[in-house]
Amino acid sequence: MIVAEPKPIKELLEMVQDFNKILVIGCKGCVTVCNVGGLKEVGILASTLKIARKKDGREIEVGEHVLERQCDPEYIDEVKDIIDDYDAVISLACGVGPQFLSERYPSARIFPGVNTKFMGGAVEHGVWSERCAGCGQCVIHYFGGLCPIARCSKSLMNGPCGGSSHGKCEISDDVDCIWDIIVRKMMAQGRLDELVKFRPPKSWTTARDGGPRKMVREELVI
């Protein structure tokens, strides 16, 4: 999933300080799963905005709406009849959601309510960890099913650097050296020799290095 975290309330309050009718729009996709932009969080933010404004003696009207997804135009359309009733919109979706809203509703003032962090998963309740860098050409099968691009601090593809110590990365004791894990796994599977096979350099044109990306699947285009 795409993992995000809430923006600090102070930052959000500052963003919308000039507006008195605000629509908070959540998303039932990834941000619901990582507890940052679903139905509950929309309610919490709306309530917090009201408390903060009432505290300062300023009136505010906060609308709440949760879309199935903010990354599909058909769901974005759902707010077409209400969005003009508000001065500003806070989107609690990942960075995609507020952009889809901005594109669909050019005159609306759209603000991001979360900071999008990475593509990853929940390693335990309340803890998420990065797993994918979205390079556009998956090569994890060369590395025991683990991604050195997303999980090595230097994205090294030819083994650990000198900063690997006792299974940890030199940047922090909280960060596992993925190369330590890869090597141990390949040894356990008796496939260590596969790591020294010659492979041509990875093409980064499919990653961000190739500019903004777009994908067309003709069989799905209507």
């Binding site: 600090p8 309330i9 102070k10 309050l13 509950k40 309610g43 919490i44 309530s47 917090t48 009201k50 408390i51 903060a52 009432k54 505290k55 300062d56």
Partner: protein
């Protein structure tokens, strides 16, 4: 002591805190009328939004009265509630309200006296803090 009578919402576990309330009742000890009780099946059911709504509606203070950490009927309800109360404290701090407006207390079913005491503890604390700016 000032005349300010803080309005308090108390979320009480229907197992321990409500039993403590019954014991308090048997001891002829009653809660002051400015403490409104909301009974919940388990404090683990209380969401951050429930606690915020009380403040949004103008409560001067909010507290949760639940079990001891090791005696929740649903195992971890009180621990979850403690984390949510801490979450609301963080939100209050962020919007520059006193985080001491909310608290959590651990009770046993037989602690009738303590059940009433925590209400007065909150009242006294809120008298020091003053009325909620959210009215």
């Amino acid at each position: 002591m000032n005349d300010f009578k803080p309005q308090i919402v108390a979320f009480c576990c229907s197992n321990c805190a409500s039993s403590a309330a019954a014991v308090a009742d048997g001891m002829k000890k009653t809660l002051p009328d400015n403490v409104k009780i909301i009974q919940v099946p388990c404090t683990g059911r209380i969401e951050i939004l429930h606690l915020l709504k009380a403040f949004e509606q103008g409560a001067d203070g909010v507290y949760v009265a639940g079990c001891q950490d090791d005696s929740c009927r649903y195992i971890s309800g009180i621990k979850k509630a403690a984390k949510r109360v801490a979450g609301v404290k963080r939100i209050l701090e962020e919007i520059e309200m006193d985080p001491e407006r909310i608290n959590i207390f651990n009770l046993c079913a037989g602690q009738g006296q303590r059940f009433v005491e925590v209400a007065y503890e909150m009242i006294n604390r809120l008298k020091e803090i003053g009325p909620s700016p959210v009215k």
